[in-house]
Amino acid sequence: MGRLSVVGTSLPRVDAWDKVTGRAEYAFDVELPDMLHVKVLRSAYAHARILSVDTSKAQGLPGVRAVITGADMPKDPPLEALRNELYAVPPFSLATDKARYTGEEIAAVAAEDELTAEEALQWIRVEYEPLPAVIDPEEAMKPGAPQIHDDAENNIQYENRTEFGDVEKGFAEADHVFEDRFSTQLVHPCTLERTVCIAAFDSSGYLTFYDNSIDPYKQSRYLPKLLGIEPSRLRIVQKAIGSNFGALQGNLTPYIMCALLAKKAGRPVKLVYTREEEFINAGPRHMGVCYLRTGVKNDGTVTARDIRLITNAGAYGYLGPAMMTSGFTPCAGLYRCPNVRFEGKCVYTNTAVTSPYRSFGIVPPAFAMESMMNIIAEELGMDPVALRLKNITRQGDVTVVGQEISSSGLPECIEKTVAHIGWKEKRGRLPPNRGVGMACGMFDSEVRNAPFAGSVAYVKLLEDGRVKVISGEFEWGQGSRTVLSQIAAEELGVPLESVLFSELDTAAVPYALGPYGGGPVTLRGGNAVRLAAVEARRQLFAVAAGMLSVGPDDLELKDQKVVVRDDPVRALSSAQVAHYAKFILAEEIIGRGHFEPDTVMRDPKTYYGNYSSGYTFTAQTVEVAVDPETGQVRILDFASAIDLGKAINPMAADGQNEGCVGQELGPILLESLAYDKQGRVVNPNLVDYRLPTALDVPPITSFLVESHEPHGPYGAKACGQVSNIPAAAALAGAIYDAVGVWIKDQPITPDKILRALAEKEKREHAPA
C-alpha cells in the first residue's frame, strides 16, 4: 500500500456544514402536503386484560380522519416465519386482549393537527381488568409471580447454559474462589431527536416511509410481510438522524400504525413521539443481575469462571437472547481462562420492551467481570494491571469461545492509559479520598448474526470528476459517511469535498445489515466501498487507455488526472474520461464492491464461533476524588484507549471514544429509569431523568492504538461502541482505591457510597 493521503487524516465531517448552519434535514423536519398527525393511546396499566375498546366517539370528532385499534391489524401476520430471524417476536401491533406494560399501544388516531388527535384519545373508552404487575426480573421468576405470557412459565422468555473446558476442575485447581453479585439498572439511550415515522401512499399504492430508525433494512424486509404489501411497493427514506444508540432496533409497531392510518385516511401521516413516550415505550437498556464466581491461583492465573446472568426482557423480550450471546462472548474471550460456564436467563417483566443501547448487551456482564478482576487483584495484593497482563487474550489466540484474534493492541491500550494517569506513582499512594482505577474491554468489530453479514457498495465517477458513493451503510451521527467517503477519495485520488454520498433510500441503495453489535460500518462497509472504488479506478484506466492509445498498466492517477507514467505530459482529467465514457461510449464508470466476512454465526446453543472478522479492544484508567461526607464522586481525569486497528479519521474516532465515555457516565453515576410498584415510569422527562451535562463529564483523554487488523480496510476495525464497556468497573475500582468500598450495583450514587462507608466503619469498629 502506498502512502495514504485522505485515509488517516482528521478531515471535517462531510455533513458538518449543513449541521452548523441548521440546514440539515431530520425526519422531524419532514412535512408533506396534506399530512395528518398521529397520536397513540397507550395502556394506563402495567398489566391488564383489555375487555373492550370503544372508539366511536373519537371517530366522530371534527378533524379526526382515522382511528385504529388492535382489530384493524393485519390478520394472522406471519410472525412464526419471522421468529427465526428476529430471535423473538413482539406483537408488532396494537394490544388486543392484554396490555403488558404501561405505555403499550392500544389505539391510534390520525387528525388534522396534533391537538385534535390528542383530544380524540380522551374520547376512546377502554375497559381494563387490572392484573398484578411485576417489574423486577428476579421477582418475576419466583413461583406465584404474575404470569405475563401464557406460554412462559416463571416468566422465563429464554434460558441457556453453555460450558467450555472443565469448570469444576478449574475451580479445584484454584487457590482462591471469589463469588459476588453485581447489577445494572434500566437506563434509556435518550436520543436527542425523538422517534419519528411518516407514512405516505402515492396514488398507485406505493408506500414510502420517512423515519429515523436504527434499521430501515429490517423494516423494509419485514414490513411487507406484516402489511401484506409486495416488497417492491415499499421503501424507507432516511434523513439526517438526531443520534441513535440502539433503542428499539427494528421495532415495527410505529410503521404498522402509520401505514394503517395513512391507508384508512387516504392521506400521509406523521407520528412523533413525545419525550414521555420515548421513556415509556422506546426501548431502555435492560437491567442485568450477574452472579459471578472466579477461581484464581496465587500467582493471579484465572482458572475458572462461572457466570450466571439474569436480564429483564421487558414485556415482550425482543432482542434479549441476542443480547445474552453478544454480551457473554466478548466477556469470555477477553481472558485466556479455558474453563468457563455461562447460564443466562431473559425474564419477562411489565416494563417497556428492552432494547440494545450501545454495545449490544455487554454492559451488565462486563461490569461484573471487570469489577471482579479488580477485587481479585486487591485481595491477592496484586497490581490490577499485572493481573490483566497475566490473563488477557493476545493477538493470534483463538479464544475459549472461538474468536480468532487477528489483531490486538490491548497491551498498548493498557500501557497508554496507565501512563497518562500516572498509575505507578498514584495507586495506593494518593492522599486520602483520592484513587485510581482501571479496566479493560473487548467487543466485535462487526458481527455475523444472520446468514447475511456482508456489504455491497457502488462507487461512481461522475462526468464532472466528482465521485458518488452508493452504499446502504447508515449515518447515525457517528461519521460513517465521512469515513466511507474518505476511502473512496483515497482510492480515486480526489479531495474529500469531491465525494457525494447517496441518500439512504431502501429502494435505491444496496441492502445492508446495519450497524448491529459492533458499529461494523467501517469494517464491512469500508471494505465494500474500497473494493468498489478500486474497480471504478480500473474502469477509469481502461477508458483512458483507449483515449490515449496506451495500455491501462501504463497509467497512473495524479492530482485527479490520469497520466501516462513514462510521458507525464500526456494526461486526461478524470472528468474528461468520465465525460467521454458517459456521453460517447454510453458507459458509466461505476465500480461494484462486495465484502463478505469469513465468519460464522455463533452456535445458538454453545455460543461458540468466530463471528466477527476483527475484535476491538479498550483499556481505561481513571482518577477520582470521593467526598466521604457527601458521597460525591468527582472524576479528575479519564483516559480511554481504543485499539481500532487503524484510524481512518482520527478526529472522528476520538469523538466516538470521548462520546461513548461521556454518555456511559450517565448510567454509571446518574441515570435510572425508575418504575413504581404499579409499573409506571416515575421520571419520564429530561428534568427528573438526569442526563450528563458538560458539568458532569470530566476531561477525557482519548488514545487510538493502531494494531492493523488484516481483515479491515487499511487495517481498520470498529471504534464506536467499545469505550463504554470498562468504564463502570474502572470507576468502581478508583472509588475503592479512594475510600475502600466496592460498589457493585449501578448507578454508583452518593447514597450507596455513604451506606457502604457506614457499613465499613461499623465492621472496622465492631468488637473482634
Partner: protein
C-alpha cells in the same frame, strides 16, 4: 422564509390572534400569531426556520435555544408574543453572506458535531457566552453550556471548539 401566514383563515372560533412584530435574523417580521404559540413553534412552523430543534418541549435539553436580544432562551418555553419588538437570532442568521461565524467554523474544524441535533442550540449558547466573555476558561464554558444536552460527543470537542473560537483553545488537529 415561509410567508403566507397571518391572512384571515376561516375558523369556527373567535380569532384570538395578536399581531407580533419582531426582528428575526436582522429582518423585521410582522405576523398574526396565537397568544399561546411558543417562540419555537413560531420560528419552525410560521417562519420555516427549522434550525432550532425540538427535543423535549419542556425546557430540559436546550436543543431549541435561540438568542433573544443576545441572551440564550429555550424557545420552547417562551411565548412568541412575548418577543414583541425584540431581536431574535437563530442559527440560520449566524452566517453572513455564506461566511460562517467563527464558532460554526470551529465546530466543524474541531469535530464538535456528530449527529448535529444539539449543534444549533449549542452554538447559539456559546455565542452568547463569547459575546460577553471572549476568553472563557474550561469551567466557564462548561457552566455556560450546562443547559444544552449533547448525547454524542461527551462535550470534549464542543468545549475545545468554543474555546478555540474565543481564541483561548488549542488549534484544530489536522
Amino acid at each position: 422564509m415561509g410567508g403566507g401566514v397571518g391572512g384571515g383563515v376561516g375558523q369556527d372560533v373567535a380569532d384570538t390572534r395578536k399581531r407580533l412584530t419582531v426582528t428575526v435574523n436582522g429582518r423585521q417580521c410582522s405576523l398574526m400569531v396565537e397568544p399561546n404559540r411558543t417562540l419555537l413553534e413560531f420560528l419552525r412552523e410560521d417562519l420555516g426556520l427549522t434550525g432550532a430543534r425540538e427535543a423535549c418541549d419542556t425546557g430540559g435539553c436546550g436543543a431549541c435555544t435561540v438568542l433573544v436580544d443576545g441572551r440564550p432562551v429555550y424557545s420552547c418555553l417562551v411565548l412568541a408574543v412575548d418577543c414583541q419588538g425584540k431581536d431574535v437570532l437563530t442559527i440560520e442568521g449566524l452566517a453572513v453572506d455564506g461566511r460562517l461565524h467563527p464558532l460554526q467554523q470551529a465546530f466543524i474544524d474541531h469535530g464538535a458535531v456528530q449527529c448535529g441535533f444539539c449543534t444549533p442550540g449549542m452554538i447559539l449558547t456559546a455565542k452568547a457566552l463569547l459575546d460577553e466573555n471572549p476568553a472563557p476558561t474550561d469551567e466557564e464554558v462548561r457552566e455556560a453550556i450546562a443547559g444544552n444536552i449533547c448525547r454524542c460527543t461527551g462535550y470534549v470537542k464542543i468545549i475545545e471548539a468554543i474555546r478555540a473560537a474565543g481564541g483561548t483553545g488549542k488549534p484544530a488537529c489536522t
